[in-house]
């Protein structure tokens, strides 16, 4: 009897994770695409040497801590047995990186910057849950914004 209860809880969590997670991801992607179009005019490039310009340079950055939902975590756990591509983590990383870059660009826009150079992205697992891989990670993006004097 006890394990039927557990199974019910697991099923409930999986359905909750799937529904809420899919909804949240779709909404996040829509927001990312919209803001990426808006911020297209401030390119973020990874070149170290800026084009020769007489401008001020300011460090700008953006970060996000983002987590997978329960369903995706479960699927990733299952796939971990057989190996192969973990799509669920790929979309999480993709969202995280794009969001971090967008936040950096938003900071640059407030400063009226025209370009961000030497952009660096770092990703780290936070180990949020004590003893298991929680599927949450942090992405940090930083670079130098160039502002025309």
């Amino acid at each position: 009897m006890a394990y039927i209860n557990e199974l019910t809880v697991l099923t409930f969590l999986l359905i909750l994770g799937f529904v809420a997670g899919t909804f949240a991801e779709g909404r996040h992607y829509n927001s990312i695409k919209k803001r990426e179009r808006m911020l297209k005019r401030i390119p973020a490039i990874s070149m170290r040497t800026p084009p020769d310009m007489n401008c001020d340079q300011v460090l700008v950055s953006g970060n996000i801590v983002i987590a997978n939902d329960y369903f995706k975590l479960f699927v990733a756990g299952l796939k971990g047995i057989f190996g192969g591509q973990l799509n669920t983590y790929e979309s999480l990383l993709d969202r995280g990186r794009r969001e971090a870059v967008l936040r950096m660009k938003e900071e640059a826009r407030k400063l009226n910057a025209r370009l961000i150079v030497n952009v660096k992205l770092t990703t780290s697992n936070l180990g949020v849950a004590q003893n298991k891989s929680s599927g949450s990670l942090e992405v940090y993006a930083y670079g130098t914004a160039l502002i025309a004097k």
């Binding site: 969590l13 909750l16 994770g17 809420a20 997670g21 949240a24 991801e25 996040h28 170290r48 800026p50 310009m53 007489n54 401008c55 001020d56 340079q57 460090l59 950055s61 970060n63 996000i64 801590v65 983002i66 987590a67 997978n68 939902d69 329960y70 995706k72 975590l73 969001e99 150079v117 030497n118 660096k120 770092t122 780290s124 697992n125 936070l126 180990g127 949020v128 849950a129 004590q130 003893n131 929680s134 599927g135 949450s136 942090e138 940090y140 930083y142 670079g143 130098t144």
Partner: protein
Amino acid sequence: MLISNLEIVFGKKIIKHLGLVQGSSVRAKHAGRDIMAGLKNLVGGELVGYTELLQESRKEATDRMIEQAQAVGANAVLNIRYSTSSIAAGAAEIYVYGTAVVLTEDLS
């Protein structure tokens, strides 16, 4: 204090290198944030509490680096890098390092 992750500053000249300066900060989340994060792990999405925590942590590390740079008499820190490592469950270290330099106006 000018902080940049480029190696040059437009219109300025480096007259003295003062070596590496660094700052670090280790923070752990508190229980309230942890519970919220646990819930968020079910439905997915951004963990706002952690985002803020790490932002504060980066600021603290950067401030420590600036303090060190001021102590050696620099007026800028160039080519800075950030790195993060999770050293224990629920605690993250933010580390920032760069080169302390003295800049003057380039009159040429």
